[in-house]
Amino acid sequence: MIELKTIWTISKYTFIELMKSRVIYNTLFLGFGLICISYIAAEFAYGVPQKVALDFGMGALSLSACGIALFLGGPLIKNEVESRTIQMILSRPVKRESFIFGRVLGMSLLLALNVSVLGLMTTSVYFFMGGEFQSLLIWTILFSLLESIILLNVVVLFSMFTTTTLSVIYTIIILILGHNIINSLELEMVKANSFLEGIIKTYSFIFPDLTKLNIKDFLLYDNSLSVSYLLKSTSYGLLYSGVILVITAWVFGRKDLE
């Protein structure tokens, strides 16, 4: 119980710290700009205008959430260790795990705020142009958040072993592979080669399969998705993040903090 209070305190201060760092305003500004462009593009582009706007808007939202997760997540723990502020915190009755959980939770809250604001802006434009409500709107936004939280956890884990820059680069690679590698299972070449198939299956067991969370096309083409699929993907996202987080906490508990 008291541990939860500690985690909450740390996440609250992390959130405040990240808000004050102003990076968030830049991404919101960027997102806002993209949504404006999407509005203009929708007017001229070939296709249903509100769908074009939605496509742009959701793209911007996902990009900004992943961007924030990567570039604020990389230094999230590392900076604390290097600037030795962590020594002040850990000289109090605070478990190292609680510190990690609190930092990641605070950062996740920031991602949630970012996604909510951009999601609200995107859907407003969409409704303004005459789009109709679908529950997949909410799910798409939620899945963008989940994706960014997975990336956050991955980049934090990498940062336990290497520099901030390298952990961001590795995570970008994971992001790109995570969106594409599963699709390659459909390729004839892969189907014909059981070794290759095995490698890819092992990969997607260890690294995140982000295609599970990519439902934008279903939203755009008015396709529906079963509730069980949506819940399964949500559980996948949460579980994956949770496991990575626990590994990070375990590694961090064994590090020398110089």
Binding site: E17, Q87, L90, S91
Partner: protein, 302 residues
């Protein structure tokens, strides 16, 4: 309260130079109600040992033992009783001083009223109350040090562990820090702080642990150290200019007087000589060596 038992620390990080042995079999005990100076030159390993005590780094071998009666059983209970100030403290620059102290208070598991009272008391005492509502990134080095000191006191810990708390302060700040250290010591807290300045330790502490290249070369009372390691000399001051007496050349002389530093066992003969030669003796006193001289001596002997 805290015992360091045969602590060794080897850093393996440097591939080119191989492992470096930073702490070698360091053992000593911090007893309740003492002020202990942890004295050593730069690079002696003081910071490394303090980080080991706090659990930031793990010793290669050896144990840090907290007295469970005084300090509790779990690591969290132990830390609730410790006020720690790192070397060159660095805080969240975007927070205000008060926000930072509140964060530390909340994490320390003490009641809000208690730590808020302590914040106002100690920030006034350490002259930082005027800046508590300013952002920390506008603080000077001395102000940061003061803020750090306040943060070590807000949860009313039983022991203060401070890494070079006096470095980076101006003379006024040094005086104030020393006063507060003496004050909390008189109020019953145990104080353990590192320093590379002998005078600071001598002024504040009754005990000293001297660390030299990772090994403890002395651990005990400062007065004992001085007594055992100084062959207490006697200073004779005589009127006028005297170049030498009994084959001993004068230690210093001005126009009016000359002084000689004489070993204890030769002082009687020396006094006789003065009387025989009909020299006017002005003063005769035991010359106590300072800790500085003694520590210098220990180092040379090793």
């Amino acid at each position: 309260m805290i015992e360091c038992r045969r602590i060794n620390k080897v850093f393996k990080s440097d591939i080119l130079e191989g492992p470096t042995e930073v702490l070698k079999d360091v053992s000593f005990t911090i007893k309740k109600g003492e002020t202990i100076g942890f004295l050593g030159a730069n690079g002696a390993g003081k910071t490394t040992l303090i980080k080991t005590i706090l659990g930031f780094i793990k010793a290669t071998s050896g144990d840090i033992l907290f007295d469970s009666h005084e300090m509790g059983n779990t690591r969290e209970e132990n830390l609730q009783n410790v006020g720690y100030l790192p070397e060159r403290p660095y805080f969240y620059p975007h927070l205000k001083g008060r926000e930072f102290l509140t964060l530390m208070g909340k994490l320390s598991r003490v009641e809000k009223v208690k730590f808020e009272q302590a914040i106002s008391k100690w920030s006034q005492r350490l002259g930082i109350d005027f800046a508590l509502d300013k952002q920390i990134n506008s603080y000077s080095k001395g102000m940061l040090q003061r803020l750090g000191f306040v943060s070590t006191l807000i949860h009313d810990p039983k022991i203060l562990i401070m890494d070079e708390p006096l470095s980076g302060l101006d003379p006024v700040g040094r005086r104030e820090f020393k006063d507060v250290l003496s004050e909390v010591y008189r109020a019953g807290k145990t104080v353990f702080f590192s320093s590379h300045i002998v005078g600071d330790v001598e002024e504040i502490c009754n005990q000293v642990v001297v660390l030299e290249k990772g090994s403890v070369v002395y651990d005990g009372l400062i007065s004992d150290l001085i007594k055992t390691h100084s062959g207490s000399k006697v200073r004779f001051t005589v009127r006028g200019k005297v170049e030498s007496l009994m084959g001993t050349s004068s230690n210093s002389f001005g126009n009016q007087s000359t002084s000689f530093l004489i070993e204890q066992d030769k002082k009687d003969n020396f006094l006789k000589e003065i009387i025989n030669k009909d020299i006017d003796l002005i003063n005769m006193s035991i010359e106590n060596q300072t800790l500085e001289e003694v520590v210098y001596k220990i180092r040379k002997n090793d």
